[in-house]
Symmetry: C2
DNA sequence: TGAATACCTGAGCAACTGCTCAGATGTTTC
DNA sequence: GAAACATCTGAGCAGTTGCTCAGGTATTCA
């Protein structure tokens, strides 16, 4: 409560205050080695941003629908039972991260998954949750 | 503003009000076919939950560190410059989703990635962001 | 040109999230 | 048992998110 908490958008990727971080409790050598092996901060942010985009039920459903082929905003909205505005907002986010790609045709705009990479990532996640045992009570932990 | 918006934790997976959703603008046949091909709602939630867990810079860094081998909470905290409390909270979330696994040894608790699946998913995402062109101005869209 | 259609966008609100703080729990050592 | 250590947990706060609403832009057609 003393120090003003740093804004969350800028993750504390920089090492903590020097006076607190030179000694490691358990395995100093290994921890020091790890320091140099960690993913670079900008990449961390990009990676988290991409996963977070996939981490919402509405966007999962949008991507799932698009995994079967391109669709216009209108049909996406009807298919998923959402307002076109809500769909448009989400597509903008996915577009910004290059997860989907728009194609205008007259007054319609058709959206499709941006590339094969996305589909692979999506399906990998799907396989994980389908093969992971039911997660008994921990499911709603927290 | 008329209807009280449903809680966000229960995504509108159910089809929308019947009177609004029987007719599709563009390709009714295709949309109807898609209806049956979409991922089941509980799976959608699980999938989104898993991706969301990966969708935070702190958790990305935790998983990245653990991808090199198991570490105790204390070293994780020092390595990433976070409080042990913050690390513990995040690990609980990851534990609940079976993304990491604890192993107690005396008063220490060592955490490791739960299985190979996680590492595969993590690296797939990493490859994606590393191969995706710089995302010019859309990066911070919205 | 004007109306209709399909989509986009900013503002604003309720719900959610990640952190800190304070204190609890479990384990080892004296 | 008591003290020290490593970790866990609940409450609470500020920042973020996903939606709706209201109105905007782009395209087609009469």
């Amino acid at each position: 409560m003393s120090a003003p908490r740093p804004a969350r958008a800028v993750p504390a990727v920089a090492p903590a205050a020097p006076e607190a971080c030179d000694v490691f409790h358990i395995d100093p050598a290994r921890v020091s080695r790890l320091r140099g092996a960690l993913i670079a901060p900008p990449t961390v942010v990009d990676l988290a941003e991409t996963f977070r985009a996939l981490g919402d039920p509405t966007r999962v459903r949008l991507l799932d629908a698009l995994s079967h082929g391109e669709l216009c905003v209108c049909d996406l909205a009807r298919l998923l039972g959402l307002s076109e505005s809500a769909v448009s907002h989400q597509l903008r986010l996915l577009r910004g991260l290059r997860l989907v790609r728009p194609r205008r045709d007259g007054r319609m705009v058709y959206y499709a998954l941006d590339d094969r990479h996305i589909l692979t990532l999506f399906r990998q996640g799907l396989r994980h949750v389908q093969e992971t045992p039911a997660r008994p009570a921990a499911r709603r932990a927290r």
